[in-house]
Symmetry: C2
Subunit: 363 residues, 2 copies
């Protein structure tokens, strides 16, 4: 049995991360073996690393983490059609249960909650030299995206949010003009870029004044940046004389969430995307909020996860982003580490980083 290097974690045990040798998975006739090239890391990885959650595959004492992958097809099972060795692929994350949404290809809308997630919940992820997968969970990547496609998973989260926003707003004739995106992590930057690609004016908000990588995105895409440490969130629309048609919230800060409720103008929509686990009591003017939402036909929606449709749209949009501002996606990768040099998740505590990527193999 061949061996490979993999990162492993004992779920819910802080500091248990360890690189070790494990068996290379053996594929069935309907599966594909993928050699991992690059792996993006994010806040979910960090929280799993801190022992906050994560779930090992049944009967296995550890979990291989990692869900933002890019790999190359190494071997293809006999009964697999339409995918060949040498092709670049990204794997989706969630695996369906038998609920009505999962069975319809919408595992991101799972109503039952028995889904699994590679690298997070019940299934090994991609922080390893190889993984195996069924072809229906793999997305083919054009060679031009070989340096950036490990960010397709976080992009897919923004894609889902934007697609949900437009799906909801089909309830009426709607010609949105202005969007406001709170938070400039990877998903926030992607959401801002996507909304620009859709033709909206975009205001990007965080609590900083300058960052060379982000500034390059803002100028490349024509995005207005506002520092909310200087300008309170709720005052931004008036200050810019803008009616906000789409607000997207992904700061992870419940105070910002509370302020975001008042952002949408008439017929506008707020999409909540950040996960705020803890209780946060906030004194809210619910009478006024209700009045504004009713008389303005406004919507607030939550959005989580993504399905393969959002990954596929993401591939198209990555190409469009490269067309709009060449090199801008690659500039988001602010740190690269070799798998053999990766010791723990402390690097994710450095908030000046945008995307940290592990280099695992080469094509």
């Amino acid at each position: 049995m061949e061996k490979m290097m993999a990162g492993t974690i004992v779920p819910e045990k802080k500091g248990s991360f360890e690189l070790k040798e494990v068996a290379v998975p053996e594929i069935n006739e309907d599966e594909v073996l993928v050699k991992v090239l690059k792996l993006g890391l994010d806040g979910t990885d960090r929280e799993i690393g801190e022992g906050l959650y994560g779930q090992a595959p049944e009967g296995q004492g550890y979990l291989i983490p990692g869900h933002e992958s890019l790999g190359v097809v190494e071997q293809v099972g006999k009964r697999v059609n339409g995918i060949s060795a040498g092709e670049l692929v990204v794997a989706t994350v969630r695996r369906p249960d038998d609920c009505i949404n999962c069975k319809s290809g919408e595992s991101d809308m799972c109503v039952k909650g028995d889904y699994k997630e590679r690298g997070i919940k019940g299934l090994d992820g991609y922080m390893a030299e190889y993984y195996k997968e069924r072809p229906e969970y793999l997305v083919r990547i054009p060679n031009g995206l070989s340096n950036v496609a490990m960010m397709l998973e976080p992009l897919s989260i923004a894609e889902k949010a934007v697609m949900e926003v437009f799906a909801v707003q089909k309830r009426m004739i709607w010609e949105p003009k202005t969007a406001m995106v709170l938070g400039t992590g990877t998903v926030g930057l992607f959401a801002a870029m996507l909304l620009r690609l859709r033709g909206l004016e975009v205001v990007s908000v965080d609590r900083t004044s300058s960052n060379p990588v982000k500034d390059r995105i803002y100028s490349g895409f024509g995005i207005t940046h506002v520092n909310s440490a200087e300008t309170p969130i709720a005052s931004i629309p008036e200050k810019l004389s803008k009616k906000i048609d789409v607000a997207v919230e992904l700061t992870g800060n419940p105070a910002a969430v509370a302020e975001a409720f008042s952002l949408p103008g008439i017929n506008g929509i707020l999409c909540l995307l950040s996960v705020t686990g803890e209780s946060y009591m906030y004194n809210m003017d619910i009478g006024r909020l209700n009045y504004d939402m009713v008389l303005g036909n406004k919507v607030v929606m939550g959005s989580v996860n993504s399905n393969i449709k959002h990954f596929l749209q993401g591939v198209e949009d990555m190409v469009a982003m490269e067309g709009k501002a060449s090199g801008v996606l690659e500039s988001m990768v602010t740190k690269r580490i070799k798998l053999a040099d990766f010791k723990d998740y402390s690097v994710l505590g450095d908030r000046s980083q945008i995307k940290v990527v592990l280099d695992i193999g080469s094509a």
Copy 2:
């Protein structure tokens, strides 16, 4: 010039209601003269009567109030096709401005706010023996609804809410099972009946234990009633072991609005329908609310007003309601007053009434 009896109000002047003789409107070639048979009264009428708002037609010192009408076509202009004298009609309320939604027949989604509303804002309403109107704002009523169709306008508000809910939820595969309707005024009762007609289990919530008219609706439609004075709103889903797919809020009580935010289950939707003008500070767990909305893909939406599409759907549903529980609509009219006997809006302060109707003319 022929004269007619009409109710009049000097807007924003409390206690200014007065019955007086005014001119019967003279129709243009593209208009229809309608003889008013019945007029429903609601909370908006009461607030206009109390001088809280309302706006007279330009250059006229008074407003004829009333927006829940049923009439019979008396006279048809030369250039009007497809509508004949003797037909029963209900008129819609809002008249469009030139915004994109209004121009598309969605005056209820007006983004500009320059719409007018008959009986409310800038145009005379229907508390008169006659009104004139262009045929595109009239909805034809089958004779079988001649005792109840003045409730088509409040029904249209519930129709819009339900249609919006289903339009928003087209974002996914969705098979809703359970709805909860907070508030049992006319619109609340209609919303509960509509959701039953759409095949959902419905829980109807108010702060009372028994009312003969409402009990007849609950038993005729198979609706479960819960008294929220005994069972706190937020605890109802758990108590009934129900996942709430659709919650509709129309209590007018901001504390109930705040509680309603936690009602929807995974993929669920809360539709806010009640108008709460005043500030009401509420200590809300916004961290938890955001977490639940994001991870559960939940939606909260506001809905106001209605357009002719909702009136037309309402006619169909009134027929279906009569088919399901004959006589139940008429039982909602708990008080009838002749126009000549109507002195002021104090009757609307009697909360035991469901629908108060003025008898104005006969066909």
